[in-house]
């Protein structure tokens, strides 16, 4: 028999949006719990250096998230990490979420589960990676292919250079790189890097289960070339972590939540904040904004509900 723990607000996801909402709720004297599938910090944990967060000229993503987590802890918010959700009942007045260890009940829910990286379609290859901080040092002195010309691709490429990777080929399927100009400049100025636009990876050559070459194709000309590489780091963008909301909350065709301006959803008492929402810009600061608005709207919703009881 699992224990039932009662809160005012259940926050699903401990990224920057969820933690910001938790801070605002705690300061409104509302009892909240963060339920996080992995560890708090979300995608920002995987960012080597954050240089656009007001108040820090340069800070490691995981350090920044630890500071936010310290703030959450200071306010006494309950946090459950490594938390698998088994059941979700959020349609009624009382919301309940069951994990493998306990049942959580609350008057409102803020969903802030963010997005997850899109995997490269070569699951058989063990030399395909998604985190240069975790796996990069094994490629010191070796050749690496970075897939994706957004901020993640360039930032992680820079980190790989710092750990001594001998050569990097960075490819982007579109006709331009999407990373910040400063990141592009810092990366492409190195002699041992090559940036290719209009290029996609179409095949891998393995020898005794070890990656030897990648087959790259120019999407305009169709011309293919084999590039010798020892490892691949893929940063193909993200998809929303909203499968568990299918049929419960209105989503767009790509799975993003159709939240209103106040972060409310079509389900009364269910709010949505951060990168999982359908919107144009996804930054730490915009996720914090969403988390703030969701918490304030949630506070108002709970206040109104209690007046009507």
């Amino acid at each position: 028999m699992k224990d039932t723990n009662s809160f005012d607000v259940l926050i699903l996801g401990g990224g920057i949006a969820g933690m910001t909402a938790a801070i605002y709720l705690a300061r409104a004297n509302l009892k909240a719990v963060i339920l996080e599938q992995a560890i708090c910090g979300g995608l920002c944990n995987f960012t080597y250096v954050v240089e656009n967060f007001p108040s820090y000229t340069s800070i490691h993503g995981m350090d920044l998230m630890q500071k936010v987590r310290d703030h959450v802890d200071h306010l006494g918010v309950a946090v459950e990490e490594i938390c698998e959700i088994e059941r979700l009942d959020i349609g009624g007045t009382e919301k309940t979420i069951e994990t493998e260890e306990a049942i959580y009940a609350g008057a409102a829910v803020i969903v802030a589960t963010g997005r997850k990286p899109i995997p490269l379609c070569f699951p058989e290859c063990e030399q395909v990676h998604y985190c240069s901080i975790c796996d990069g040092f094994a490629y010191s002195g070796k050749r690496v292919l970075v897939v994706g010309g957004g901020n993640s691709g360039f930032d992680e490429g820079l980190y790989l250079l710092r750990v001594g990777v001998a050569h990097i080929t960075l490819i982007e399927v579109a006709d331009r790189f999407f990373a910040a100009e400063s990141a592009q400049h810092d990366f492409l100025k190195h002699k041992n890097v090559k940036g290719l636009r209009n290029t996609r990876i179409v095949d891998l050559v393995l020898e005794r289960n070890r990656l030897k070459e990648a087959v790259l194709e120019n999407v305009n000309s169709g011309k293919r070339e084999k590039v010798p590489i020892d490892g691949i780091f893929a940063f193909l963008g993200q998809k929303p972590s909203t499968n568990f909301l299918q049929g419960l909350v209105d989503l767009d065709e790509d799975g993003y939540v159709l939240a209103k301006e106040d972060m409310s959803t079509n389900v009364p008492g269910v709010f949505s904040a951060g990168d999982l929402n359908q919107k144009r810009y996804r930054q730490l600061t915009t996720a914090m904004s969403d988390g703030t608005i969701a918490a304030l709207a949630c506070e108002r919703y709970i206040g109104t509900s209690r007046v009507h009881v």
Binding site: I39, H60, I82, E84, I133, C134, F137
Partner: protein
């Protein structure tokens, strides 16, 4: 809760462990932090198990001795020997099954 092991005592530590787990990690590695949190829960499933951490950057000799190249890598130790290794993420139940099968 976890014991940190250095290069100087890695081999002797493994030799002395009857039932335990050693995890190779790295500072500022998000998957490593995730796995450390997971191992805290795993410890509840397997009471009495010893868990050791090795910083991969500070302990290159231990990495070589255990033939570990990437982090986080979890090694199961039984009877003073490393019997199984796995790199990447696991949840507590998967970790328990991995440990028991080694």
């Amino acid at each position: 809760m976890f014991t940190t092991v250095q290069d100087a005592d890695f081999a002797s530590t493994v030799d002395s462990v009857e039932r335990g787990v050693v995890i190779f990690i790295k500072k500022l590695c998000p998957h490593c932090k995730n796995m450390l949190k997971m191992l805290e829960k795993f410890q509840r499933f397997v009471p009495g198990i010893h868990i050791y951490t090795v910083d991969s950057e500070e302990c290159p000799e231990s990495m070589t001795l255990a033939s570990v190249e990437r982090v986080p890598t979890v090694c199961v130790i039984k009877g003073g020997k490393i019997l199984a290794k796995r790199t990447g993420l696991m949840n507590p139940r998967e970790m328990e099954a991995f440990y028991e099968s080694a």
